[in-house]
Amino acid sequence: MKLDASIGLRRGALRIDAHLLAGAGETVALVGPNGAGKTSCLHALAGLVRLEHGNVRLGMRLFDDGSAANFIPPEERRLGVVFQDHRLFPAMSVLDNVAYGPRSRGIDKRIARATAQEWLERVGITKRDEKPVALSGGEAARVALARALAYEPDMLLLDEPLAAVDASARVTLESVLRSHLANFEGPRLLVAHDIGDAIALADRLIVLEAGCVIQSGTADELARRPLSNYVADLAGVNRFVGHCQGSIVTIGNAELTVVSPIDGDVVVTLHPRAVSLFPERPTGSPRNVFELRVLHIESLHDRHRVQLTGSLPLVAEVTTASVEALRLHEGRTIFAAIKATELVVSPH
């Protein structure tokens, strides 16, 4: 069973025109900036908003092609949806929330509750008789996930299922999802703004920006050749658009020397680790040296990300030791060197 959707609709000022494909058993992460239309796409797949044009097919079934006649309402699509705002049923106990899907499928109340109980245990929720109002944000997210999974759907649509979940539980939930996904025939679409979540769960990423699919591929492919600044940010790499003549790329006021000469407009990408920082202008081999100012230092677990500004806005990744050695602090002026061999240049 594979998903083949071409979604055309308007949401306020945003026009969405996106083609989404997900194979049987494949997990696809839909990533993109806020307001790109990720949730809207999910709702269109679920049948909660109607297509204006395009069509949605799951396996042999046509769900919607913009006409009223072919529209299959959500209750007949058999999808497991986790909403970004959870949407638990306020008047029902947590257990009944999770048992709701099985009950809709006509399963006996006792059995449905037993199934629900199992799913609650799997996602680590012990409150079963409370109303959703008594749940914390992360607990609600887990119940929402349990509710979608307990329905045994043909396709999973998860809108930021882990955004409110804590570090320990995230590991558990990821493994719940993975073990569930392992023997699940249908496709899954996962909305995530956190690349970590996306990489951890998805086989492939689809990047949506302003309603359009910009790029799609594995995380590595995205990092290697980010097609937009957003993708570069997401993958944590530097990306510049410039003009190349011979082996010199002109980017604004800055010039970069590259190894392989191309002529024309190019995109240059560069991993932050390939940027070295020096207190003085280095005298050795690197020809691409820029005098820049430190805008901000962000500490990751064991490394630091240094945002630089000046003729070429750069992000560098350095070890905690070097931050101390270089006495880096915001506002300090520093020299950044880039090896020409580390630059990935491709035509624009």
Binding site: E75, V81, D85, F89, S104, P132, V133, R147
Partner: protein, 267 residues
């Protein structure tokens, strides 16, 4: 309820006092004139008991009918799937503005023995609503239904449809969504709607006496008994009114815990 109990603005106390004055003073006036010592005698009179019983029976039946007809109607009206619902809404509201006596007359014209529809009821099924207890129920329903419908519809309109969307994705058909998700969420509105409809039916006089007549133990409900008593003795009428008030207050008191729980419903 998350959060702290928002205190009502101080100024609202003025309204409480004004309202209690407006409503309480007249009741006090009544109470002062009521011949209290005789009230027990009055209540134990069999015709009063039968009127009381009939009132309760008919008003509950009318409330149930209003619920059964009014709820799906409100659902239909709130769902906006047809452009007819503005027409239907206006139609449903009209009994509210019609003086009850005219309402009773209209009912006679429709469901009377020679009425537009009533003649067939009579000819085909041998059912005659006028001068029967069923007629009382029809008259009370006619008067109470609009109150139920409008209140329930307002609750539905104010309700959040996001949970209903979620239920749909979990395979729930419209009917199941309605009963399991939407109705529990608008419970306060349904409660208010039922109380309004019940109270309206309980106090109904004009349409009942016109349509169903005034026959002891068949159609003479408490308001009709009060009216009848008014002809001869206002004191007796006041006493009977107090019986009616006491019944209403008792019912509200019994339902207090269930229908007006201490916390607001929260999501």
């Amino acid at each position: 309820m998350t959060g702290h109990p928002h205190p009502p603005p101080r100024a609202s106390l003025i309204a409480v006092i004004v309202a209690c004055g407006l409503i309480g003073l007249p009741l006090l006036g009544l109470a002062l004139r009521a011949p209290w010592p005789t009230i027990l005698d009055q209540i134990s009179r069999p015709e009063v008991l039968s009127a009381l019983w009939l009132s309760i029976e008919c008003s509950l039946a009318a409330t149930a009918l209003s619920f059964a007809i009014g709820l799906p109607l409100a659902v239909w009206m709130a769902s906006e799937t047809s452009r007819w619902n503005n027409v239907v809404r206006a139609l449903v509201l009209l009994p509210m503005v019609l003086p009850p006596v005219v309402g009773g007359l209209a009912l006679l014209l429709a469901f009377g023995r020679n009425g537009v529809f009533g003649q067939y009821l009579d000819a085909w099924f041998g059912i005659a609503l006028p001068f029967s207890t069923a007629g009382v129920i029809v008259a009370e329903t006619w008067v109470a239904l609009p109150f139920f419908v409008l209140t329930a519809e307002s609750g539905l309109r104010a309700s959040d449809t996001r949970a209903a969307d979620a239920a749909a994705t979990l395979g729930a058909k419209p009917w199941r969504i309605l009963t399991t998700i939407t109705l529990p969420m608008i419970a306060p509105s349904l409660q208010a709607a039922s109380i309004l409809a019940w109270a309206r039916a309980l106090g109904e006089f004009g349409a009942t006496i016109t349509f169903a007549g005034n026959l002891e133990s068949t159609t003479r409900t408490m308001p009709l008994a009060v009216y009848t008593a008014l002809e001869t003795s206002p004191e007796a009428a006041i006493t009977l009114s107090f019986v009616l008030i006491a019944i209403a207050a008792a019912v509200l008191f019994v339902l207090r815990k269930r229908w007006f729980p201490t916390g607001r419903t929260a999501r």
